[in-house]
């Protein structure tokens, strides 16, 4: 079993997930014996703790039908879901920006039609010169 697999297995455990959640709320809770000079293993572990924390919360809120306990139980399927999730978020973000741009353009067109700029008044004397 590779170190990455071992670390992911540990990061998924309830024990570590609970400690991680608690440490986010309470600064007194320390995850490791050292709180500086983290090893590469610890950095990878922190990364997977946060990824699984996010996935478990999304699972609890039924955010996506494709995310299930079985998916989280299998590293390949979890990786697949993370790639799919990123693509989906990129797509949604792009779509959101396009929609926003379109609605801004529509709004400005409407405004121009109804109220074309600021009103200015000039007094012109149209009386015939005597």
């Amino acid at each position: 079993m590779s170190f990455e697999t071992k670390i992911r297995k540990l990061a998924k455990l309830n024990y570590w997930q609970n400690i991680y959640s608690a440490s986010k709320k309470c600064s007194g809770i320390q995850l490791f014996e050292n709180n500086f000079n983290y090893s590469g293993l610890q950095t990878r572990f922190l990364y997977w703790l946060s990824v699984y924390d996010m996935l478990f919360s999304e699972l609890a809120t039924h955010e996506d039908k494709l995310l299930t306990f079985e998916v989280l139980d299998d590293n390949d399927r979890t990786d697949a879901y993370l790639i799919y999730r990123n693509k989906k978020h990129d797509f949604l973000w792009k779509k959101h920006r396009e929609d926003e741009q379109q609605s801004q353009m529509k709004a400005s067109r409407k405004k121009n039609f109804k109220n074309p700029g600021k009103e200015t008044s000039i007094n012109i004397d149209l009386r015939k010169e005597e």
């Binding site: 079993m1 490791f32 090893s39 590469g40 990878r44 572990f45 494709l66 079985e70 998916v71 799919y84």
Partner: protein, 207 residues
């Protein structure tokens, strides 16, 4: 010790199937060789700076020697004399990564009930991953004689020599540095230097 036997022992040791929380609870990795317990620990600032100094010294020494090559020069020679194109290997690896992404995207949409297609996709991933690994290892082997890589290897060997401790008093948790100098580390022909180096790269790289 027979070198091949030594390497096999090291690999067996490294592949041991253990899930140990000790792996992450501090910035050290413990391991056992025969009846003795050892650990590699993260280097402190001074050790890191000494190792960087040693790496730079190695780089400067090698660059002045005859018959040494930088990565750029080695790539050029491999292409011209042996028809080995490193950039092409990189391109192949990145194509395989793209292929993997497509398989992952198909896998992501599978329901748990679709067991046979999940198994097929997973084995396809494994095949692509293996192909990519072969390319990466091939590239690493071709470029290993380059000055930059030799200097980097020396950096890790230096750190290993400085940061490997042996447990000498279990009751009082007393540890002692295994090699008092880098010279002593280089002179040690047991499997311990290989094992420690493997553990050190795992500790620092995290994989």
């Amino acid at each position: 010790m027979d070198e091949k036997q030594g390497i096999n022992e090291v690999l067996t040791e490294l592949m041991k199937d253990e899930i140990n929380p000790e792996l992450i609870q501090n910035n050290k990795i413990h391991f056992r060789v025969s009846d003795d317990i050892y650990r590699v620990r993260m280097p402190n600032q001074k050790e890191n700076s000494n190792a960087t100094g040693y790496k730079n010294k190695t780089y400067i020494r090698l660059i002045q020697e005859d018959n040494t090559l930088t990565i750029k020069q080695l790539k050029k020679i491999l292409k011209e004399k042996k028809d080995i194109d490193i950039d092409d290997l990189d391109k192949k690896a990145s194509e395989l990564e793209k292929e993997m992404t497509q398989v992952y995207l198909t896998l992501a949409k599978k329901k748990t009930s679709e067991k046979s297609s999940i198994t097929k996709l997973k084995s396809k991933l494994e095949t692509i991953r293996d192909k990519r690994l072969v390319i990466i290892l091939e590239k690493a082997e071709f470029l290993s004689p380059a000055i930059e890589n030799q200097a980097q290897d020396e950096y890790y060997r230096f750190l290993t020599a400085m940061c490997t401790d042996k447990l000498i008093d279990k009751k009082n948790d007393k540890w002692e540095q295994v090699w008092i100098s880098f010279n002593k580390y280089e002179q040690d022909d047991s499997k311990l230097p290989y094992l420690s180096l493997g553990r050190m790269t795992e500790l620092v790289y995290g994989a």
